[in-house]
Point group: C2
Chain length 230, copies 2
């Protein structure tokens, strides 16, 4: 068997395992049958199964825990950088393009959150809203809690595809805070509170407006800042 044959067998086996996971009702954290069983089932060698499992691990579908076995990853196949942001060389173009996309999606996300959030969702949003304010008042970095605030809103939309767009919002927040150099902090606190209030009151129009304003302030400041550099 040459290298090419081996590679296509690995691809075949990883596809089979993936199908088994999806159709077999495996949940996050469930343990995969061991290498030997899979090898027998699919009538292939153990080394092929081992390679296939490694491939699915690099794709964040499985996680191998030494000595314990192989498990379904909680990342559900979502890559750490699904949009390939690492590959953007022009970071100023990235920050502009990404906030443009954020403007397309996040006001509607806030609107959907106002319509679909339950009590628990609102508690989460409130919690991170408070955390961001605390961070800012104590002069700590608020990036992490800011991301969690927006993530809680996105999850409240109850649209599962949106959950997978969260990395876009996160990257935008990270780059925006970096560029605006903490100049927008008091506006951020105000905007966050308005968004929270509108979602809590299940007012979709107010939620959309508040989120739109929040992004406009960021975009305006970023534009001004970048036009000075360029």
């Amino acid at each position: 068997m040459n290298d090419c044959d081996f590679k296509s067998r690995v691809d075949f086996v990883s596809d089979e395992i993936l199908e088994m996971i999806i159709d077999g009702g495996f949940q996050v954290g469930d343990k995969l049958p061991n290498e030997l069983e899979i090898a027998k089932d699919l009538n292939v060698g153990r080394s092929t199964v081992r390679e296939a499992i490694k491939k699915l691990e690099s794709q964040n579908i499985l996680v191998i825990k030494q000595g314990a076995g192989t498990f379904i990853s909680d990342k559900k196949g979502l890559m750490d950088d699904p949009m390939g942001f690492r590959f953007f060389r022009d970071k100023n173009k990235l920050v502009r393009d990404i906030i443009e996309v954020r403007m397309m999606i996040e006001p509607t996300i806030a609107e959907m959150a106002a319509l679909n959030s339950d009590r628990e969702d609102i508690e989460q949003i409130k919690y991170f809203c408070k955390k961001v304010e605390e961070d800012i008042l104590k002069n700590r970095s608020h990036t992490k809690n800011d991301i969690l605030f927006h993530t809680a809103i996105a999850k409240s939309s109850k649209n599962k595809v949106i959950s997978n767009l969260i990395p876009i919002i996160n990257k935008s927040i990270e780059m925006s805070i970096d560029i605006t150099d903490n100049k927008l902090v008091s506006t951020t606190i105000e905007c966050h509170k308005e968004i929270l209030e509108a979602i809590s009151e299940h007012n979709p129009i107010a939620a959309k407006d508040a989120m739109t304003l929040h992004i406009i302030y960021n975009r305006k400041y970023i534009s001004e800042k970048l036009s000075k550099i360029e």
Copy 2:
């Protein structure tokens, strides 16, 4: 050295290679230095480098061509299924959620295409518009050319983050054509022509309206169809 050490060394080496690709100005199709050179540079064993390269191949960052060497993949680290659509068990919820997200992004994409497209972009959009019509009139599947039509529009927006959202649009088109069972074909031809015309005339409002209409027709039909099944 135990398995854990090996794994963290592989992670270290794959991060180093990735950094080398990004900072070293490597372009799609460029050849990576060979295993031995990388092993020497990073002071690690060849087997570690080999594993790291395999990992980057499963992440669509590198492509290994047997006998020729290792090259920068044209997929730029974008996975075949970056949104993890394979993992959605409820396909009816997926088709609804995905068209909701498409409605958030694609009208604005059409607007941006009307503003930013050049002559070559418009030629591409026109070409695939014609191809879809031919497919439909000859009773062939138009899924592939329909996807290429919408992809050409997304690329004309000149927003690089949008290019990475194309898999959402593609999946939506694929599932919509499947569900609407070719019932919307004449409307599709009309809508596509209107979108093309507006973009060709660099009329952003008309382009946005035409795309919005196109998605509304799809969503309406899909809703009706799903409500009968459920």
